[in-house]
Symmetry: C2
Subunit: 327 residues, 2 copies
Amino acid sequence: MKNNIKLDDVAKEAGVSKTTASRVLNHRGYLSKETIAKVQQAMIKLNYRPNTIARQLYKQQTKLVGLIFPTINNPFFGQLANELEQLLYQQGYKVLVGNSGNDPAKEESYLHQLLERQVDGLIVGAHNQGLPEYHHPNLPIVAIDQKMNDDIPVVSSDNYQGGVLATQRLLDDGCKCIIHTNGPLNFISPTQNRRLAYQDVLAKNKLTPITYRTDFCWSNEKKKETFRQIFRDHPEVDGIFAANDTDACLIISVAAEFHKQVPTDLKVVGYDGAAMTTVLAPQLTTIQQPISQLATVATQILRAKIEKNENSKSVTLPVKIHNGTTA
Amino acid sequence: MKNNIKLDDVAKEAGVSKTTASRVLNHRGYLSKETIAKVQQAMIKLNYRPNTIARQLYKQQTKLVGLIFPTINNPFFGQLANELEQLLYQQGYKVLVGNSGNDPAKEESYLHQLLERQVDGLIVGAHNQGLPEYHHPNLPIVAIDQKMNDDIPVVSSDNYQGGVLATQRLLDDGCKCIIHTNGPLNFISPTQNRRLAYQDVLAKNKLTPITYRTDFCWSNEKKKETFRQIFRDHPEVDGIFAANDTDACLIISVAAEFHKQVPTDLKVVGYDGAAMTTVLAPQLTTIQQPISQLATVATQILRAKIEKNENSKSVTLPVKIHNGTTA
């Protein structure tokens, strides 16, 4: 039910003029702390709802941007969400964060929010694909490391270069049996280029590529069971190029169960190199994505789409190797 | 500017009845994918803005909850934000995430959003205090590990118990010079109970407490410089109880610069024990907070406040020690 409290009533209750009450509401001009407190107190007492939402309705914008990631409880997506939020906030936007996990229904619900104009734009790094909503042209969406459709620009780092750097490092370390872990093959994503690079580099060196399938959203226990299978199937393994840093650390834990010392018996290279990972696991050698730049470029492209309906091309940024002691 | 496109226009453009267009908009009843696509396409083509926001205005709720944390790019707050988002989503809410860092202005901006009813409630774990907005009674706010004012319930884990467990572990390990790191003393928070417990346990054992001040929002380099000072001032240090796990890992890195081996020469106990930390740094002995339970309880209390205007008491949950190899 709508109440009919007006700003006049708030001003009267607070014992100030309507102009003063309006200035408090709109954070304009110099006001004493006491005045601000009195007006806010009156707003709460009378249960006054300012017409912010009505104003948004008129302006046709919500100043909200949705971020859809598999989970922000991961060093890469956590840092990315953090940096995107900071950049967007500086530009007058607040962010809605959705962890879509393996749940296409949840991702769909965020897409509907966009279609219903409850958010002005979306930045999507989620792993669910094939939702029909992505196929509307000209939606203000930017994808991170995911191919949605031809109209949605993708911001990613150079996954092929990363795959080459990781595989070459393991070869330079003298590894003869190098195994790779990666997401499902039917998943159309630039991250598949890591696998492609791994295969190309091994082929050039007359070695056979072996890739184990993992999934970002599996439980740690399920991932560890997959990694145990690597050591059971290939006791000769001496190098692993992991899909991401959490997988790399889980592989190192599992290797210890098989009495494989890292880096003596087994070399491991991870992927992502988020700031938090280099603090918690500084020993890990990993391919470092330029997370801050990914956030900056994604924000620029999204704003061009929201404000000027501008179409942008996809952008690929370079990666580098972070030298730890595991390879 | 407001356009005047109505649902009738959308229905006509899509070649369906108004009832069908309305069912697409409200996700009701069985509809073929083709029909849904046609209607959505028409909505976009005509730039139709459904009256979702107007409906929210009428219902006086936004179904949005704001989370204000120092930074989600931290294993504790990352996991907490992730779990809160999942719980709230199941209950029909979406979450706005703000990383307030050291910035009271940003925290204030989120509080204004609450006062202006752009969000239905807030869950605050931020470190800025003394904002006058917190002093309105009966606001739908829940604090995590922070004391805001007497009206705002605090959900925290048992920081005193955690301090006892950590300090006792270092004593049991035979440490004679045990140093603690913690936030500034003027910061009124239940986390100060960790320091209190540390001091009490040392006093009982006739040892002198030494606490070094750190700050959650400092750069890693600034933190490391503080930790180097510990080893310069107290070369005899053989045990450190760190304020959190990232600090514990930075301390272990710095110890290596001073040729102190962990755990041979130095024992270290961290704090938080988030799931991601136990993957990336499984060797770290740490006090494990019940993050999932903190999220569950905070969500319950917030919903009681939002829906029934119910006042709740603060809640303290037990912690346990995670046994790594660093202490």
